[in-house]
């Protein structure tokens, strides 16, 4: 039986599932406990699992992430929330220099089973410091796994998989997706990191997307279908590990690939994918891989400007159509 739940509620359901199963799973962050999270993703968890396992912190991002790291070194499986992904910058040393490198630098002595959950992305008029899509920051750092689901079902499966994963995971929840809903299976749900989903199949072009860009890519594909262009849409779901097999397969089937990135252009994940396809499937290509991204600017806050800046279904359709002409 599949029930319809929101992406927002999926977060709490995944956490509850894992905290029920494993008493070493803890949740910390600003306002996560008594208030149930500023995005209301974690209500009821404190009541259910107690004020020690679900705990409010001071506004001390370095201490939050450092504490998660130290606790993971000493027997817990912490989930730490960084309220907005933009604030990852305030504890980036902890993430990029400490957490990511420690297992390698100690030649495997230290295991860090921890998850950093964070609200990522634009679309809610919060302006340049509360709207960034920063999956590429994490992808650029060896030693971090990077997950960014687009549906409630994927969110549960992948958050559960992230919590069970023995390696550190940065888990990007898209804040514009919180109110969206989707069907979710009953029972315990656990997915697998590193598997992309082919959410739509079509033989003409492949559109590769992530998180909030997935529904836009699907919407674009539906418009394109009306115009006689059939698109395969790949939801990457994870950037690390990256499911290059699914990508390369879709690429060889259509010969035309478009990436849709919410991040500003330079060094986005689409660049990496473009370069992989270039190196490994060059002769399958009928045309260059085309990147559709947010312009390389900070995000403006006014609704009119924000909407015109982030890739939209219309822009995707427009670029795909013009390329095919």
């Amino acid at each position: 039986m599949a029930e319809l739940i929101t992406y927002r509620d999926a977060v709490g359901r995944a956490l509850a599932q894992e905290m029920e199963r494993d008493e070493t799973v803890y949740l910390i962050g600003e306002d996560v406990a008594a208030a149930g999270g500023v995005f209301k993703t974690t209500p009821g968890l404190r009541e259910r699992f107690g004020p020690r396992r679900v705990r409010d912190t001071p506004i001390s991002e370095e201490a939050i992430i450092g504490a998660a790291m130290g606790a993971a070194m000493n027997g817990l499986r912490p989930v730490a929330e960084i309220m907005f992904s933009d604030f990852l910058a305030t504890c980036w040393d902890m993430i990029a220099n400490q957490i990511a490198k420690t297992r390698y630098m100690t030649d495997g002595q230290v295991e860090l089973p921890l998850v950093i959950r964070t609200a990522n992305g634009a679309g809610v008029r919060f302006g340049a410091q509360h709207s960034q899509s920063l999956e590429n920051w994490a992808m650029a750092v060896p030693g971090l796994k990077v997950v960014a689901p687009s549906t409630p079902q994927d969110l549960i499966e992948l958050l559960a998989a992230s919590i069970r994963d023995p390696d550190p995971v940065v888990f990007f929840e898209h804040k514009a997706l919180y109110p969206t809903s989707g069907p979710v299976d009953d029972g315990e749900l656990v997915g697998e990191l590193g598997k992309a989903a082919v959410v739509r199949t079509g033989g003409d072009v492949t559109i590769v997307a992530l998180a909030a860009m997935v529904p836009k890519a699907v919407a674009a594909a539906e418009i394109l279908a009306l115009q006689g262009v059939e698109a395969t849409v790949v939801d990457l779901r994870c950037l690390v590990p990256l499911d290059t097999q699914t990508l390369l397969k879709a690429c060889s089937q259509t010969g035309r690939v478009f990436t849709v990135e919410e991040n500003p252009r330079l060094c986005g994940w689409g660049a990496e994918i473009s370069s992989i396809i270039m190196e490994e499937a060059f002769f399958d290509l009928d045309q260059p891989v085309v990147r559709i991204t947010t312009d390389h600017i900070p995000l403006p806050s006014a609704d009119a400007l924000e909407d015109a800046t982030i890739p939209s279904a219309e822009r995707i359709v427009d670029i795909v159509s013009r390329t095919l002409d």
Binding site: E30, D31, A34, A35, V38, D56, T57, P58, I59, S60, E61, E62, D86, F87, A89, T90, V124, R125, F126, G127, A128, Q129, H130, R265, L266, D295, H296, I297, P298, P300, S301, A302, D303, A304, L305, A308, T309
Partner: protein, 351 residues
């Protein structure tokens, strides 16, 4: 005394006052009425912003300072025109009271072309450098080191400016607070740090996550500074405190750290009802609302009811006019998306 863009004098009240101890003379009363005017205008601005948020005109979010007006008003009165204000996302009124035009502030909240930042900033990022309002900063703690830098430049250039940096109680637990306070003290910079302790972070009481009772004052000693704990709802006490800290800065005697106890009447942001707070706590603070309290005091100390009524009526006109103006402004055209990333006016990353 400079006129602000909407014609109301704001900064510089301090320059008139005779002595650091408040005198109950005529000049003093005028200054206090000026502070009252600012508080009233600030309150009206925030109430308006809230109404506009509920009405869907303010997009995204908005953090109101209703209940905290005495701090912003007293400081605005004590600052010289070229002094510099740094504040948080809860910064509408700090920006307004330094002299930014209310219509352009509202327009920014509405995401309009005439917004003070052209629609690129939004409620959390109001800046009017021409008024010395050097920005609202939306990442907790970040602006403390930045204010230190502005003060450093002031000291090196000998401008006589003071940088005043407002932040919340929650900001006292972030690393940037510590680094900024230490550097300001070591370099003896003209910066005044003002912790507006409204008792809460977003929904979490500050005392539940802080190792000391007074999050700023109890840490002043860690930077060799005096502990200054004041009633942030008492405009006169705030003004005296502001004036002496600014004076100290201007004399080259270094930074101050002020903790002003206050309370926000509403929730943290947007439509948060703030109901995580005990009802009687809210009630007792509302009973100490800085505005009616000050009105009564002024009345008992020489102001006439007419004068104050007039102040209120004028404030209402100002804000209403601003609303009309902002509402009438068009959305920014898409063509501005690519402007003003670089000093050349554009945003090209390649040739």
């Amino acid at each position: 005394m400079p006129a602000s863009a909407n014609g109301h004098p704001r900064n510089g009240g301090a320059a008139e006052a005779g002595s650091p101890d408040r005198q109950h003379g005529a000049a003093d009363l005028a200054r206090r009425i000026h502070i009252y005017r600012m508080m009233v205008e600030a309150r009206l601005f925030e109430e308006t912003a809230y109404r506009m948020f509920l009405g869907g005109l303010v997009k995204g979010t908005a953090h109101l300072a209703i209940g905290q007006e005495a701090i912003a008003s007293a400081f605005a009165a004590a600052m010289k025109p070229d002094d510099l204000t740094f504040c948080t996302y809860r910064g509408h009124i700090h920006t307004l009271l330094r002299g930014a035009p209310p219509s352009r502030l509202l327009a920014e909240l509405f995401g309009r072309d005439s917004g003070i930042c052209g629609g690129k900033g939004g409620s959390m990022h109001l800046t009017d450098t021409s008024a010395g309002a050097m920005g609202c900063y939306a990442i907790v703690g970040a602006h403390l080191p930045i204010a230190v830098g502005a003060a450093w430049a002031a000291a090196e250039r000998g401008t006589g400016q003071t940088a005043v940096c407002f932040f919340g109680d929650g900001a006292t637990n972030i690393g940037a607070f510590h680094e900024a306070l230490n550097m300001a003290a070591v370099w003896s910079l003209p910066v005044v740090f003002v912790c507006e302790n409204n008792q809460y972070m977003e929904y979490t009481p500050i005392r539940s996550v802080t190792a000391v009772e007074n999050p700023a004052a109890d840490r002043a000693g860690a930077y060799g500074l005096d502990a200054i704990l004041v009633d942030g709802n008492d405009a006169d006490q705030m003004f005296d405190t502001a004036r002496s800290a600014i004076e100290k800065a201007r004399q080259g005697e270094g930074p101050s750290l002020i903790e002003a106890a206050t309370y926000r009447h509403g929730g943290h942001s947007r439509a948060d009802p703030g109901d995580y707070r005990p009802v009687d706590e809210v009630a007792s603070w509302k009973a100490r609302d800085p505005i009616p309290t000050y009105r009564e005091r002024l009345l008992s100390e020489g102001a006439s009811a007419e004068q104050l009524d007039d102040v209120e009526a004028t404030a209402e006109e100002v804000i209403n006019a601003a609303v009309e103006e902002a509402r009438a402004a068009p959305a920014p055209p898409a063509s501005v998306i690519g402007t003003n990333l670089w000093a050349d006016g554009g945003s090209a990353w390649r040739n």
